[in-house]
């Protein structure tokens, strides 16, 4: 197998406890990560319509060729399989996480892990280089994710944690990288995460519950091998090209935030330690995944909330709203930690961080519990929840928002106690159980526009993430476009400064970089007309292809890649599309172009689509929840718009999506993808040139090939 690869994939059947290998070269055309996972899932999951909890579900965990080498933000690890979180169908889905698991896996000699079957009792997998054992996990079952990892470290290293440890005839100072579930996963929660180190999580998809159903508590990997790269000189050179021209210079930044500790400003200049978002007023360091120059998370003097990111550190922030204040909806994408005063160092901040740790320890997906938390409070104000009420629940609502309340709330979900049993199903399924789903999706009280997943951004504003989601499987969580288009004006409005770049120049940069669909600025027009244009079909198609290959398969991190706008570069022009292929080719020697990668992404997107079609996908289902069409958004959201021949940033609040126009837009999108406009199914004439003739045959056999 070539440069950048370990060469083999570990295949585990937990039912008969067999361990075997797959030659990575067999799947080389898919490159790595997601592509590998989709192709292996296609081949090994015999019945793709089963539940995520079924032993026949196949879970893949795949590294990309860059993981463990030296390229900025390139160690994402991709988990795939049928995800129990999806609603009404548990779609074949994906989730990814960072940290150092993918590198350690490869140093141990494996490009990925495939898990089939179900163990008859709790197990954990111990991988030490070529030596793989299926171990008894009864002593770990019931532990949180931190204790589980610490216990496995102790077992594997004999507690020699900070010194050289012999592994065969080699030595390492590194702890095993452990991936594990907490109590939520053990209790088959559909909103359970799989955790690694302090705060790296595979969240959306519900894979924690899928692991629990397989009786799989943890996978520990430890390797003392290396990864050969094709051209180490070129690789170091490319890193230095990136460092000199595009990285935030911590000693002498070209572009610095206008306000001290203004963490949101990382959107502009990619400064370190910022993705906890709400500023942290405690001595700490930035902390990154292996090989990351941005280092988006932190480790604190208190040791609390270490490595936690983004919404896991910000949901607990709800605890500091004044008691009695009614919470208002804010999507995670809009959540501005903003400019909180440096006064809450010791009390409330620590309470927040403890809550973050509890959440990660149970292994619960923050997205769902955030929305459920606010939903509960509103129901409480409506007198619909409480002891003896329509939803019988004894949470101490008078203490809503406090650490004590949140601890009780999380525990109830982790162990499925009381209404926690409903919430563990995910909020949309819970609302269904309570008879509220239909009405609350009409009014928007339940902001779940698609497939059982909450809003990420407002689907009536920027639309890209939500369009990608409704055409896909889960919250797309793809920040390719919203970071520049929404982030730049948002940072300006929070800090009351001028945007660092005009809408016209920004759109100019973006539209030059979206190879091979470059040259159409209207791809980034967020006016009403822009939401339904043929140009927007290109935006979504480009985003899906890019994500499926460069991010999910190669392993580039969503926060660093693509890089359109870059405030550390003199002309604001980022390293996309040059950087992607330069790093990739230095590592693999494959010598592909950026556009070659986009084509592999298109192929992978079509393969995924075929799986969803087998699971029951039809054009008629790709419809948002009613409120998206009926209730205008009230939230302030600035985006570039093109009106009267001019580009400007405008607040797009006040609109709902037009259902008919969205339906027409779908036809434009299907046409661009070469899918049947009536059914949304891929056609033979699209699949065959992509080398997916076998997939077309299978769809035809099932009567699901597009005409």
């Amino acid at each position: 197998m070539g440069y950048g690869y370990a060469g083999k994939i570990l295949r585990l059947n937990l039912s008969n406890r067999s361990v075997s290998t797959i030659d990575t070269a067999q799947y080389e055309e898919w490159v790595g990560g997601h592509g590998l996972g989709s192709a292996i899932f296609w081949d090994l999951c015999q019945d793709k319509t089963v539940s995520g909890f079924d032993p026949r579900n196949v879970i893949t965990i795949m590294a990309g060729p860059m993981a463990g080498t030296l390229a900025p933000g390139s160690t994402r690890c991709e988990m795939q399989g049928i995800g129990p979180q999806g609603y009404p169908i548990e779609w074949f889905t994906r989730s990814s996480f960072g940290g150092r698991f993918a590198p350690q896996l490869k140093y141990a000699g494996w490009d990925g892990v495939v898990i089939e079957g179900k163990a008859d009792a709790p197990v954990w997998i111990n991988v030490i280089n070529d030596h793989v054992t299926i171990e008894d996990a009864r002593g770990l079952w019931g532990l949180g994710t931190r204790k589980t990892q610490e216990e496995i470290w102790a077992r594997v290293t004999g507690n020699r944690l900070n010194d050289w440890q012999a592994v065969g005839d080699a030595y390492t100072t590194q702890k095993p990288a452990v991936l594990c579930i907490g109590q939520a996963g053990e209790h088959l929660s559909r909103i359970a995460t799989v955790m690694h180190d302090g705060g790296f999580a595979a969240g959306q998809g519900g894979f924690g519950g899928a692991w629990g159903a397989k009786n799989l508590k943890a996978i520990s990997v430890r390797g003392t091998g290396g990864i050969k790269v094709a051209d180490s000189k070129a690789l170091i050179d490319t890193w230095l090209w990136h460092k000199t021209n595009f990285q935030f210079n911590v000693d002498n930044p070209r572009n610095e935030a206008p306000i001290v500790n203004f963490t949101d400003y990382w959107i502009i200049n990619q400064s370190p330690g910022a993705v906890p978002i709400a500023p942290i007023w405690e001595p700490c360091r930035p902390k990154g995944c292996q090989g990351c120059p941005v280092a988006c998370s932190r480790r604190m003097a208190s040791g609390l909330a270490n490595e936690a990111h983004c919404f896991t550190t910000n949901w607990p922030y709800l605890g500091i709203i004044p008691p009695g204040t009614q919470p208002t909806w804010m999507t995670p994408g809009e959540w501005a930690g903003g400019l909180a005063e440096p006064t809450d160092i010791h009390g409330l901040a620590k309470a927040r961080y403890r809550t973050t740790d509890l959440l990660n320890d149970y292994g619960i997906n923050v997205y769902d519990v955030f929305f459920a938390d606010v939903y509960f409070y509103i129901l409480f104000l409506m007198d619909a929840i409480g002891p003896g009420k329509a939803i019988n629940c004894d949470l101490p609502f008078d203490k809503w928002g406090t650490e004590e309340y949140k601890a009780a709330y999380l525990k109830m979900i982790a162990y499925r106690e009381g209404v926690g049993d409903d919430l563990a199903e995910g909020l949309e399924r819970a609302a269904e159980r309570w008879g509220r789903r239909k009405d609350d999706l009409e009014s928007g009280l339940l902001p779940y526009p698609h497939w059982g997943y909450s809003e990420h951004n407002d689907p009536r504003a920027g639309v890209d993430q939500e369009y990608a989601t409704i055409l896909g499987d889960r919250d797309s969580n793809d920040h390719s476009f919203d970071l520049p288009t929404h982030g730049i004006p948002r940072v300006a409005s929070i800090s009351k400064t001028e945007p660092v770049i005009s809408a016209e120049r920004l759109v100019g940069i973006l539209s030059q970089k979206v190879l091979p669909l470059q040259g159409d600025p209207l791809m980034f027009d967020y006016s009403d007309a822009g939401l339904y244009s043929a140009s927007r079909a290109k935006t979504i198609a480009w985003g899906r292809r890019y994500a499926r290959f460069w991010k999910d398969s190669v392993g580039y991190c969503d926060l660093l890649w693509p890089n359109f706008f870059n405030a550390n570069a003199p002309d604001f022009s980022g390293y996309t599309p040059e950087g992607e292929a330069r790093f990739f080719n230095a590592v693999t020697g494959k010598n592909i172009s950026f556009v070659d990668g986009m084509e592999i992404g298109r192929r992978t997107w079509n393969l995924d689509r075929a799986v969803w079609v087998l699971q029951g996908r039809h054009r008629d289902m790709e419809v948002f929840a009613p409120y998206v069409y009926q209730v205008p958004s009230t939230r302030i959201n600035h985006f570039p718009v093109y009106e009267n021949g001019q580009w400007r940033y405008a607040n797009v609040a006040g609109r709902a999506l037009d259902k008919d126009r969205f339906e027409e837009w779908k036809a434009k999108y299907y046409e661009l993808e070469g899918w049947d406009k009536i059914t949304g199914w891929p056609t033979r004439s699209t699949l065959e040139p992509l080398g997916l003739g076998k997939v077309a045959d299978e769809l035809q056999r099932r009567g699901k090939l597009g005409g």
Partner: protein, 197 residues
């Protein structure tokens, strides 16, 4: 103090190295890029076990103790050189007096690994070649186009995105860690919300 009845042993001395790596423990982000770069320029592959710089960390540790940067100190009195029975470990006059292993002379006894007084030992066991290796300040890094050594560049210094590693020419204070663990942070670091003291 020498024991009664034994001859007092004179400290082993060697010509001073012309360069020393110093690090800022509070500035490091634990990204391990330095380890990847080190093994890349010396071995042509990324391999944490063969990196001459070791970053040891605990995800749940308390800042700043959550990270230790284990760099070779190019000691004034290098115990590793002193201990080596074959003279494989030597002071490399052609490379600014860095303490260096001549692999062709190393018989793999690993005495130097135990002799280095720091934990984890800064002497690295090359399990594939069966010899000891160590930091040479990139003076002999075959997989890099740059000239290394005390007068050249070091891959870890060049790569580090936090600019947390630096080469100095004067021998740092040898007693304790203060000479090698320095403050490389300025007001821009503070502006990000991180401590500068």
């Amino acid at each position: 103090m020498a024991e009664v009845g034994t001859a007092e042993k004179r400290p082993f001395t060697a010509p001073l190295s012309e360069g020393y790596l110093v690090v800022d423990r509070k500035k490091c982000s634990g990204c391990m890029s330095c380890m990847l770069a080190c093994s890349l320029v010396h071995e042509g592959k990324t391999d944490l076990s063969l990196s001459r710089i070791q970053i040891v960390q605990n995800p749940w540790g308390c800042f700043p103790e959550d990270i230790a940067l284990a760099i070779c100190r190019q000691c004034v009195n290098p115990k590793c050189v002193e201990a080596c029975p074959t003279e494989a470990l030597h002071v490399d006059a052609a490379n600014g007096n860095t303490r260096t292993v001549d692999g062709s002379l190393c018989d793999g006894c690993q005495v130097c690994i135990d002799a280095c007084p720091y934990k984890p030992s800064r002497m690295i066991w090359h399990h594939e070649k069966g010899v000891a290796v160590k930091c040479d300040l990139c003076g002999r890094a075959p997989h890099w186009i740059e000239k290394g050594g005390p007068k050249g560049k070091q891959a870890c210094v060049e790569i580090c995105p936090m600019r947390a590693i630096k080469l100095v020419k004067e021998a740092p204070e040898q007693e304790g860690d203060a000479g090698y663990e320095v403050n490389l942070r300025n007001e821009h670091w503070g502006w990000l919300g991180f401590p500068t003291d």
